[in-house]
């Protein structure tokens, strides 16, 4: 058969060309990420781990989310299988409700759509089943592939739950540098950083990277770890605001523009906003979203 001789990639491309992504999904995926809300379907991403989830509850820092799969063949007995009519992907979704857990906001990457699941009401699962959803089945034994799927999702969610991008240091870095008489000129020379960065480090408004901590360790005669632990922690409210999906999209654009890793861009943006706010507003809690908007206007539109 001619199809048997067709190269794998060509077959894949031909198959993909026949797939039609629903307009609603394409629109949701390409739009700027909005504010997370219960019932939304999201792609989560942290390092190499990527999972699709449905949001069941949203707080300032976390989301309660259940993983979803577009393949319902290995769904366990706690999994709710939503028919195409109950979600905007217009395909069958296996919602692993038994694996729902709190995940940090920063892992939300792209919104894919919404599911009509009404999680605000108690007894929502029963109502979904009454409306046409079905349940998976109990694993038949240790060799049932359902176990493997469930385990893979559990490990992935464990990894996503551990995601942290903001440092939680003591803020003693500025004092350590002052005690060692390491001023901006010496820091520029020692760490090969720009004058504004050296100034921010000296004032305790920026954090050192592990590489920089290793260089400082010799000058300060302290272990790297102690120096990293002395990094300033940015305001918790600022970290909350910077962890929203909308900000992550901006951070990714910044990372692409500067050719750096996402995590580096996240830290650079956060410490810059933190430093700007510290200079401009004194001790009152700054209007973080305005500051962040200003920062990205300057860095992304210049």
């Amino acid at each position: 058969m001619a199809q048997d001789r067709e190269p794998g990639l060509a077959r894949l491309l031909r198959a993909v060309s026949t797939v039609r992504v629903p307009d609603a999904v394409r629109a949701a995926f390409e739009a700027e990420p909005g504010e997370p809300a219960p019932g939304q379907l999201w792609r989560t991403r942290w390092d190499e781990t990527v999972e699709l989830v449905v949001l069941l509850a949203v707080s300032d820092e976390n989301v309660l989310a259940a993983p979803i799969l577009l393949d319902d063949r290995c769904a366990d007995e706690d999994t709710i299988i939503l028919p195409p009519a109950q979600n905007s992907l217009t395909t069958t979704i296996a919602m692993w409700a038994g694996l729902a857990r709190q995940l940090p906001m920063c892992i939300l990457d792209r919104q894919l759509g919404v599911a009509d699941i009404g999680v605000a009401d108690s007894g929502w699962i029963e109502r979904l089943v009454e409306a046409g959803a079905t349940r998976g089945r109990r694993a038949a034994g240790p060799l049932d592939p359902t176990n493997e799927v469930q385990a893979r999702l559990t490990d992935a969610l464990d990894y996503l739950a551990s995601a942290v991008w903001a440092p939680s240091g003591s803020g003693e870095l500025g004092r350590l540098l002052a005690e060692a008489s390491l001023g901006p000129p010496r820091l520029i020379e020692l760490l090969d950083v720009s004058p504004p960065t050296a100034l921010a480090l000296r004032r305790g408004q920026a954090a050192v990277t592990p590489d920089q901590a290793a260089k400082l360790a010799l000058a300060l005669r302290l272990p790297d770890r102690v120096i990293l632990e002395a990094n300033p922690a940015p305001s918790r409210r600022l970290v909350q605001r910077m962890s929203r999906p909308r900000r992550r999209a901006q951070v990714n654009r910044l990372a692409a523009r500067r050719g750096v890793e996402e995590r580096s861009a996240w830290l650079a943006a956060t410490y810059s906003v933190n430093a700007m706010a510290a200079r401009q507003t004194g001790t009152q809690e700054p209007a973080w979203d305005e500051r962040i908007d200003q920062y990205f206007q300057v860095t992304l539109e210049s």
Binding site: P142, N147, A156, D158, Y159
Partner: protein
């Protein structure tokens, strides 16, 4: 005194055990071959397979069940498992 009959029967049984162990071994994945000698040490499964703890647990339990089903009602069960361990260790070292 050992009879010739007993010698032949014992030898056949050993050969049969080795053959069945080989057949079972041939059907194992590379990950299962790596895991089999350590089935009694579940705390090492995750590192050995380089996967998360849940996936490692399922892989280990699944392999234990496979071995159990392959040796159930088998008089030479222990010998066959020992032969499997030898084959897996040899394959891992080669």
């Amino acid at each position: 005194m050992t009879t010739g009959f007993a010698d032949v029967a014992g030898g056949e049984r050993t050969e049969d055990t080795a053959l069945r162990a080989h057949l079972f071994f041939d059907g194992l994945t590379m990950a299962e071959r790596r895991l089999l000698p350590f089935l009694a040490e579940p705390q090492r499964w995750s590192v050995l397979l380089d996967v998360g703890p849940s996936v490692a647990r399922v892989a280990g339990q699944s392999l234990i069940e496979k071995v159990r089903l392959a040796t159930v009602d088998d008089a030479d069960r222990d010998e066959m498992v020992m032969e499997l361990v030898r084959l897996c260790v040899r394959a891992d070292g080669s």
